[in-house]
Subunit: 499 residues, 2 copies
């Protein structure tokens, strides 16, 4: 195990020593906490460890030492039915603190895998897969500026036994524990061995564990306090350096392509559909989709469809035909605009996690997380490093949705530059559509070729085998709408067959 | 039934007529929607009616007519386990749109009571109680500037029968309905009669129903569109008038007391506790509280404790002693500071609804919804009418929590003016407490007597029989902490006995 506590156990810290140490630690921790708040850095402190290590006591201690404003403790008690319906990391995403705030995770994404490995519902291989996902999740947080401090409270069999005995005897009057903990006691060896593997596998350079011996409660608390103070102070320094360094290093780089293939050129924009065929195929596809969504509801399969496309490509019209086919209780359209304050204060993927559908329902995103590698790339809202790493982050995000059994489709509706101009002109004179066209839309037209590059990169880098892009020829609206509906049906059908 | 549609049914609108009408309606609706967005008014449109009236079709139609940005449809499908654990209005609170946004409620707070009255799980008296609560809820929304438009789609037995038949025959290919609707068909008479009572009882002057005949779908949609356009346009006008009128009429009024009794004067600030007694009673109370919270967890009883008090009265210390007694997975402290943008964009009670505990857990509010009648009253953040009506709103809020089985306690920690000064001085020189004292705290001391008035009014106007204030003598910290802990135990015990 990494960072193993000194095998020569330090002797027990006396009460007087503790008070002196605690005062010094608290001063350091408070100062670092305020500095990070000013830097608008989010902090997550994970308290892990076997039962009997005193995780709860440590959580209480930290809450006592920290300034309580802006600190939230999250316990992740048994999943609610909503949590059961969502991908595994959903509840951790929802608990992620906003910028300048702090979260203490009592239990975390580590708890489930360890428990399931011990009771045998997770095999060794799947555990490794889970840990790989965990490393990626933590890296993504770190990349986004989250200060992540992970504690593992290590406890030997004898110490655990002693603590349980004290609890049984009622000596620790105010520290009764929930019944669910008790069953773990008998499996100490197995727990310890799985935990060691997990800690080893996730002790990365970026996000190392602090392993603290839980043998003596006062030593344990001082150990946690010391490591926390140091970690927070380092983060403060890091933040100061970054704020000096960033204007030079994080400047928006050159606009060159990351990939070479021109995916857009392969879309046959001449494709059309006559009115009669349109009506027939649209009706048939809507009928089919209606039935498939009923089935999805019955089988509790969630669906996510993401729509991207040029301004005026006809996303809205295509989405409306989709929505009209579905019982409105089962479908929700999320229009993605500039992020709100709440959204800006978090990772850019946060709001999409928040809006995932419940089981059996569909969320349609009108614009999506791909904004990161489109508008944010072009306009420089995301720095060069930020949008460059987004492709991998997005692939991981989508992979988690697929793993959770979500039917996932993504559509790019393509039109030619000339067709866009024609539509802009006609919108400007249409009473009902005038509000849809702004000066900014005209300005964006100037950046057509930069967008072309970004779109081709996006399609190239995020078309995975499990979730390829559907490129839709949009010059003919009828053709595009039918294409979208029929493709959505194919996706839903494939998912149901797969079950 | 009020606003009954003309018994002489208008003849069916032809397709050509419809397209003309729809164009005109859409223009009006869009314009009003944009105006309300600029005015930052939230809009809720309720679509109610018996099954077969075409609620879903109307929802689709409105989504087609409205600008989709900033519009959310909420369906309130079967409750999730989280929703089951919360008071009845919780999910409607969570779905309440922010300022400038719009929500279409497909189903609403009306659905449950009607269903339960029809299937007999709600008796007539309880139905009336529920409707009273509904009227208050709608009034509160209206008072806060929400534009609430309620539609009841009325459908006769014959029309309903015809529509069901078409569905069975598959003629309405894309309009299959979820199985759950079918069972209602056989009880048409009963549904119609309960619905008529409900609509009658909630057809208030402030929030009237628009009853629309659902016999002909096109007529129905035009009727809804017409009424919606008119209602939104009226709200726009109202908003324009309010923005002109408000500086005069809504000015912060005089500071006179609303009630006469001096509750604070009755607190015995001389009460003290010596160190030995303190230790003994604190330990005993913590022990007891720990056990009670275990029991609350097992019996799924949620607890809410609200703490108010003078600056430096010792709220934090008292809360810490409470929290330390409880398994940290079961308790959460919410520090209430100035509202965030997200919170400001909603009713002031919204964030407290959001943070209600899950079943078996406790939420401690460090400052609470009483800010409305304390700091917001004193500083003029709430207008005169706003804070004056807040007492009734708060009583209603708390009454709903109690009805949902939540253990609810509220504490005012009282200290003398001199004691506060002493503590401010000592905080200024304490390394760990320096951050707790700001210039604003010193400024607030100037307003002591205005606060005294506000506190006495608050205690007088919100000490209900079911949920009285606990006034705590805080000059002696030991006495205050023990008082709080022991009082919390009494509340929890009383709640468990009551079950």
């Amino acid at each position: 195990m990494p960072n193993e506590p000194d095998p020569e156990q330090r002797s027990k810290i006396s009460k007087a020593e503790f008070e002196e140490l605690a005062f010094a630690l608290r001063t350091r921790i408070l100062e670092a906490q305020f500095a990070l708040r000013r830097q608008k850095r989010p902090v997550i402190v994970i308290i892990g460890g076997l039962d009997g290590a005193g995780k709860g006591e440590v959580v209480h201690r930290l809450n006592e030492w920290l300034d309580p404003r802006g600190v939230e403790t999250h316990a992740f008690l048994g999943k609610t039915s909503e949590e059961e319906q969502k991908p595994r990391f959903w509840r951790y995403w929802m608990a992620t603190p906003a910028k300048g705030r702090m979260a203490i995770f009592f239990g975390s994404w580590y708890t489930g895998p360890i428990l399931r490995r011990v009771n045998g519902t997770l095999n060794k291989e799947d555990l490794l897969g889970t840990l790989e996902r965990t490393r990626k999740h933590e890296k993504m947080l770190k990349d986004d500026g989250v200060v992540l401090v992970k504690f593992w409270l290590s406890v030997g069999r004898r110490t655990q036994e002693k603590r349980y005995q004290r609890l049984i005897d009622g000596e620790d009057y105010r520290w009764r524990i929930l019944p669910l903990d008790w069953e773990h006691y008998s499996k100490h060896e197995k727990f310890a061995s799985v935990a060691a593997q997990v800690v080893e596998a996730t002790n990365t350079l970026d996000n190392p564990w602090h392993v603290i011996s839980a043998r003596h409660p006062t030593n344990r608390d001082c150990g946690v306090g010391e490591a926390l103070a140091t970690a927070l102070e380092e983060a403060v320094k890091e933040g100061e350096l970054a704020s000096i360094g960033s204007p030079g290093g994080w400047q928006l780089g050159d606009r060159q392509r990351l990939t070479v293939r021109n995916h857009l050129a392969q879309v046959d924009l001449a494709a059309t559909l006559d009115k009669k065929d349109y009506r027939r195929r649209l009706a048939a596809a809507q009928d089919k989709l209606n039935g498939l969504m009923m089935k999805a509801w019955n089988e509790r399969i969630p669906t996510v469809l993401a729509f991207e496309g040029w301004d005026a490509a006809g996303k809205g019209g295509a989405i409306r035909r989709l929505v009209n086919a579905i019982d409105p209780r089962l479908v929700r359209v999320v229009s993605v605009a500039a992020p709100t304050k709440e959204e800006k204060d978090r990772h850019y993927l946060w709001r999409f996690w928040r809006d995932l559908p419940r089981a059996g329902c569909m969320t349609i995103f009108d614009r999506s997380w791909y904004g990161r590698v489109l508008v944010e790339r072009i306009e420089g809202y995301a720095s060069d490093v930020e949008w460059r790493r987004a492709y991998a982050e997005i692939n991981e995000f989508e992979s988690q949705l697929l793993e959770a059994g979500i039917t996932l489709g993504k559509f790019w509706i393509h039109i030619s530059n000339e067709e866009q101009e024609r539509r802009f002109e006609s919108r400007s004179t249409d009473a009902l559509k005038r509000h849809k066209i702004t000066d900014e839309d005209w300005r964006n037209r100037q950046k057509w070729s930069a967008y072309e590059d970004a779109i081709n990169d996006m399609v190239g880098l995020t078309s995975t085998k499990e979730c390829p892009w559907t490129l839709v020829a949009g010059n003919d609206k009828r053709y595009a709408r039918v294409h979208v509906l029929e493709a959505a049906c194919v996706m839903l059908e494939a998912q149901m067959k797969g079950l």
